[in-house]
Symmetry: C3
């Protein structure tokens, strides 16, 4: 069994934004040399997500509107979490909807994907550097 | 380490429906010969889910009502995604609530499950053929 | 490849509560002897979750309020599932928002975590004993 890991550093200036990291994952799989296995991709921060969906700007606008409706940023007083001095209570909720991680299959050295699957980093409390972990096991 | 994969083809005529695929996963585990390992089951399409819950028709009706409330199909103009000519903006949202994938443990050649766990394919934009991937690694 | 599993038994008296199980997972990783691999942690019951977020009491209160808003326990008649004689229709919905499982990386014999990541068991239908599964593969 082989294993491999890599941390990606990301800096998203906006509070909420989605970034396609599919090619970073493809590069990591290539570097790992793993031909058959599993690849975990997770946000290392608790106000961010990794998810798989469509790379379509209209959909991403829809997600932002929907998440803001389900867990609005303001009023800050809506969240007891913000009593700690933070202003990111909403981001901890948005991340639960969109998920922390994805696990993807590696087959014949490639992402085993359907036709439209793309991997995104979802930022809900931007303006600082954060990390995504890629962990690969297989052979 | 051994690896195995299998794609299931599914065709759900209704727009939204849930289908129990537990026995397909059990068969794949048996075919793989893996006794100890992990099994990933994921929708290969971005308007569908794989999730684990109860095989109880009342609950499935409740899920449909709830998902329709959280991300209604209509009006189509609610979603910028539908400006692309699609009418499935809602399905991309429903799938985020229910999830893309599950990872399950294989112990002594069997699904290592609690008493009520069943694996479902969740379709949110039916009427066409779609795939589910089963990927198994272990030994 | 090595594999290891362990079932945790939990008993949460309250209907809804979150319990930090990070040290249980760390102990299991230590027991397994795995230095590089993947660790699956999942609820074995379908009215409970395992998720990763912050160990901050204000946030946990916020989650409870939010989940009760998204899927209220009452009126019981809101859920067809409760026609079976159960009163936990809401719990099956809350669990879908918070997720069944997490998959975490093991690197150099440790949880490969960001600064604030903590693993929680989420109970949505407490008052009885339930299990969490920890499954580890790697070497």
């Amino acid at each position: 069994m082989q294993s491999f890991h890599k941390e990606l550093w990301l800096h998203i200036p906006k509070r909420m934004e989605f970034m396609n990291i599919t090619s970073d994952v493809e590069n990591a799989i290539c570097e790992s040399g793993v031909k058959e296995g599993l690849c975990l991709i997770n946000a290392m921060h608790i106000t961010a997500s990794v998810f798989i969906n469509d790379d379509e700007p209209g959909l991403h606008r829809d997600y932002k509107t929907w998440l803001e409706d389900l867990a609005p940023h303001e009023p800050l007083s809506k969240y007891d979490h913000n009593l700690t001095g933070e202003d990111n209570g909403d981001a901890h909720h948005k991340r639960q909807i969109m998920g922390r991680e994805v696990v993807v299959a590696i087959t014949e050295g490639q992402l085993h994907f359907g036709p439209w699957e793309q991997i995104f980093y979802g930022e809900f409390d931007g303006g600082r550097k954060k990390r995504v972990l890629i962990k690969i096991i297989g052979e």
